[in-house]
Amino acid sequence: MLAKYENVIVHIVSDAMVPFIQLFALYVIVHGHSGPGGGFQGGVLLASSVILLRLYLGREASHRRFSTKLMVALATVGMIIYVLVGLVPLATGGNFLDFAYLPVPGVSGAELRALGITIVEFAIALTVFGTLVSLFDNLTGSKE
């Protein structure tokens, strides 16, 4: 059972930390393009921010913001985005996941592949995010 944590210091510090953890997660996802980081790591960071919410807000308040259903849906959406982005080049003459054939006019093949990598990173992050938080919810016995 997750109850609300009755301590004002914990609440204020965590309230301040959650948005910055999520901002840092987005930074890590996008920074995977030019340095260490990427979808898996960023997704774990996003999940950790929601798990922190669960720990100090308790079940009812945190589920109003991020319900388990939403998390499973996000994981599914990430998976679907990955597969669809992989399937689009098939229609325009490329191979599966061959991002150079994405139908965006006026962009060179290399830049299209960079774009495809970024989309894929976000899809991975969504999947990892949703999977980890729904696992946490189920292990702590959260009900719908």
Binding site: S34, F96, L97, G116, I117, I124, T131, S134, N138
Partner: protein, 90 residues
């Protein structure tokens, strides 16, 4: 029986140690792993994918299919755990 198992383990260990003598040295530039596709990635990944991070280029573009499989594994494992642990009776 215990000594037989120990002897088999010892024999296996000796075999494995003997096999390591045939492996290339760590960091050997002529090792098969370093002459197959790695040089191509190192030379071409920046101009082909416009991504400064070589690891990301290999992970999400050249080996995108592999990463798709990895993501499916995570997703399926999480979904299976959710279905097993879900506190709902149908």
């Amino acid at each position: 029986m215990k000594w037989l198992a120990a002897a088999i383990m010892g024999l296996f260990l000796a075999l494995m140690l003997y096999a390591t003598s045939g492996l290339p040295d760590v960091g050997d530039p002529d090792a098969p792993a370093n002459v197959h596709v790695s040089p191509y990635y190192i030379e071409k990944s920046l101009e082909e994918t416009d991504t400064p991070n070589l690891v990301t280029a290999v992970l999400a573009d050249y080996r995108g299919y592999d990463t798709l499989g990895e993501t499916v594994v995570i997703f399926t494992a999480g979904l299976a755990c959710t279905l097993i642990l879900m506190r709902r009776v149908y």
